[in-house]
Subunit: 322 residues, 4 copies
């Protein structure tokens, strides 16, 4: 446990945000629960969809399996799947009182799953991290956090996402297969890669950062250990300069650890979610986009509507645009 | 339990399929695990995507919450969500050894879920029901069904779906709000509704049948009780005459009960999945499409890639086409 | 849902306890977390053990199975068991990379379970119900209730129980097979039955009340519906007059519903747990003791030490004494 | 994974049992599902109970908590506990529609747990390991193993256990705090320790072997890594020479790894369970018995009656006898 804790500890302190950091107030009004997802409009969707010329699709999601990568430092459940009905078991159990001949003829298979909501390709809702007991737009845990999730900003509020997607292939930008362990992506890394790719960010984009870490996905220990990730200033660049609606990456926790702030062990999460109302995508598979050098695309995906939840799985696709 | 069992029992016998029913052999070769999803091609995707002119989207999925509808006759897990981390609990537990001030400042929320794979809007994989120990394309439980699912035809094989979608609003076709309890939809119902809607089925369609039952979704008992559903001959019409790639509906179990066959308690499932290689969509929310009389659309959705599973949640969208 | 809620609503109001009810302060000091279990001493154990003359034992626990009775009004998980390893599944999956011949020779079976802690024969810890945010002895949820249970009064603190056990067979006392639905046991019922049985209560007893409801255990719906149970004044008699260390019964929720108090929907629970520091046993199988008219016995049982939990399963036994 | 697998591989081959090993046939008849537990009789219970002179009890069980030791090589669920109701969450959620004042007054706490059945102090049922598709007494997986466990030899059949208990403190016998990593206990170790302790085994005993490993229980990684354990010949001595009814130990998997047999990766388990009908106790806390040099005692404990399960938790106690 010691080693895990140490890895979360703070090395340096940025003056960017002082101890007076507080959650953001939504420009979309006191009832707003989705933050920058408000940037998505019929017009913005029409615009990106009208640029599709071909049915080539890129599947941006990963598989769920026993042994898959997951964050275990805080004791959350692993992904598990188990069989509630099998062709043979049904013959023995006869759970529906149908008799042996029926169960032998009709071969029934059923399964159940359990998981932490932050497993596989998923989106963080704005209630995942807050500051001082409040989340984005000032909703308080005192008033809204119950035993079944939050009554505000839960995953069920996230609309289906159709937006311009941008891959920033930082690994390729540095001519690397994968960023080094623990590497913290800077504002300059992003700007340089965008220039190299000849890509420009626009307000409302889904911006996906590639570290290359996804190549280790099938080896959970390797995938999890000391991942490269986003720095706080780089995150600020994406939202404040680039206008990103969603920020995502191919690693598990988006940001690099240890934290840059003494008073916040996940400053990129609290900055994006609680201060800027910007949902986060994690574990996005960007390998094929990288291989084909597809940097701009229609991003289309719908996350599961888990009522009250702080995150939900999503299987998004990318369709290149002209 | 008796009453549930009785409701699954067979009242009449159709001569459509005798006792010699066996699983289908794939025309796409001995390795095929996705059946009619092979009908989806770059060309078919391009065709439907190129007909989109507007960013209006319809969310076809339902919410997950404690108390939501689910099939309980065979003892499967209900949907459950629980909090593994709350802003207050983290202060008490300090699971990451960060100390009280840090936990009071950074407000962490995490949740976990468990569910049967056939809950909420979902797609049935081809291994969900088989005949005589085999599933679509002859894969046997003996060889391929383990304790973590099937090594063949699992949900991870289902590609992202982009296809022409067709709503057959049978309830509206009969000028009803909702089909009566237990109503079994016939081939004639489908043909009549298609005529009334001026819609034609094409090979490769995602065909979605509306019974109106979704209006009761928030009242699980009402939603589940004696649902209207598809009859076997109607299912044959959709695949054999209409060329459907996927068949779905707004109820939980697609087909009407009790079964029409003495020897098969889920003949529509075994026909579609095991004999025709046709995945099934259930619990699809078709209310808004019905309200706006949108009968033809681009259907876009990606189901979760649960390795080996017999079904997976999906949050598809519909985008009207010209 | 309506009907369930109504059944919890309060019909009449007793003046027994007003709105000024507060949690009890332990006579065993400010650190006490087990309340009246402090009555158990080496001397008390020696006393009852020395009266055993014969090895006849009564198993007081029920079985756990899918479909077993459980309280479902508040959305808690049912009991579920599933196979993580089966002889056949292991051959297909080879989860330990041992190869097919090994898996065919060594036939491995493993299972997992999940459950609400209040299922099957179990004991309620003192943190299960409190008043105004505090539990027995003044420990507050604010200070001690985290995401993994309470840091005070959790089930891990409950010692193995060896004590004089007393059956009060109220059903038999009234010459009934089973008390009527919803029957609320009174102080007079208990006194009369004790007289009839020629049994006297002593300080430190485990007192078990028989309603006869256990006869319906295999039929969960019948077992759960409108159970007879203990009234508040009867509970006061057991503790204040009788000196009971633990109070238990053969039904699921010990007390009768609807509540006798307008301001408390579970007044017997809050009285016993929060005010008197008296753990509660539920779902105790008393049928064989009743059949053999065994009213006094050595009660021996150890509940599982779930750290922080508000209850834990127990499989106690009764051994008649001379 | 590799390393785990290697640790299960076989180094040497004993000639003790050849490849012709088969499951045992019960001397208690073709219906027997509990094997050597048949040795327990009213007489045997009376005998040991009558030797109790004092109420001193030893709690032989461990606590369940998130992070506790568990065998993870085959992907089984860890122990998890989560709150389904908290005093604060209930105020926010109002799951019973009781209103805020009621929920603020009555402070409700409820929790749920999930676990592999082989966690914490537990007993293995005879269906846990078999040979060639059969378990003790010839019951086959083909006929009796369903999706909810076995219809034969499940944990619900295990009676409450009251028997003579014997501690064989092998660590102390060798004047060690703890046996060395990976140490395989021999027949000679057991005989020598029994002589040193001046203890004799009798038919029907619960024999508990102390390796000292329990001292690392709170540090799961240390507890699990390369544990000392029982050798096959030592197990044979306990049953065939000593007459043991149950064999247990303070480590997780009883036996030492890697296996002594090329064809069986858990030969002590299959010998005891499948061939000799001898249940196994694991994770038994023997530290206090060792400290007080209590080698003979009344062993009293009841395992949970999980229907069909291959193991169940138990919280046994030891009471010294004269």
């Amino acid at each position: 446990m010691k080693s895990i804790v140490t890895s979360l500890l703070l090395l340096t302190t940025l003056s960017v945000f002082g101890d007076d950091r507080t959650v953001g107030t939504s420009p979309w009004g006191p009832d707003d629960e989705i933050g920058r997802l408000n940037l998505m409009t019929n017009k913005s969707r029409t615009e990106i969809l009208s640029r599709i010329v071909d049915g080539t699709t890129y599947d941006l999601s990963v598989e769920y399996f026993i042994g898959m990568p997951s964050w275990q430092a805080a004791g959350d459940p692993h992904y598990r799947i188990w069989m509630t009905h099998t062709p043979h078991g049904t013959v023995v159990d006869d759970p529906l009182n149908l008799g042996k001949p029926m169960n032998e003829h009709v071969s029934y298979t059923g399964a159940a799953v359990s998981m932490y909501t932050h497993m596989g390709t998923h989106i963080d809702a704005l209630n995942h991290f807050g500051l001082d007991g409040k989340i984005w737009n000032g909703f308080s845990a005192e008033d809204y956090a119950g035993d079944r999730g939050w009554q505000k900003a839960g995953a069920e509020n996230i609309p289906p996402i159709i937006a311009r997607g941008i891959l920033i292939d930082v690994a390729a930008g540095k001519s690397l297969e994968m960023l080094p362990d623990g590497y913290r992506i800077t504002r300059e890394d992003l700007k340089k890669t965008l220039r190299k790719q000849r890509t420009k960010l626009l307000e409302g984009d889904v911006v996906l950062i590639r570290t290359g870490r996804m190549q280790s996905y099938e080896d959970a220990a390797a995938y999890m250990a000391d991942s490269p990730g986003l720095g706080l200033d780089a995150a600020r660049f994406l939202v404040e300069d680039g206008g990103a609606m969603i920020v995502g990456a191919d690693n598990l926790s988006l940001e690099a650890f240890p934290s840059e702030l003494e008073t916040d062990y996940v400053p990129v999460h609290t900055y994006l979610l609680a201060q800027q109302g910007t949902p986060i995508l994690e574990l996005v598979n960007l390998e094929e986009l990288s291989r084909d050098q597809v940097y701009e695309f229609a991003f289309i995906g719908g996350s599961l509507k888990f009522r009250g939840a702080d995150a939900a799985p999503i299987r998004p696709i990318a369709i290149p645009v002209r």
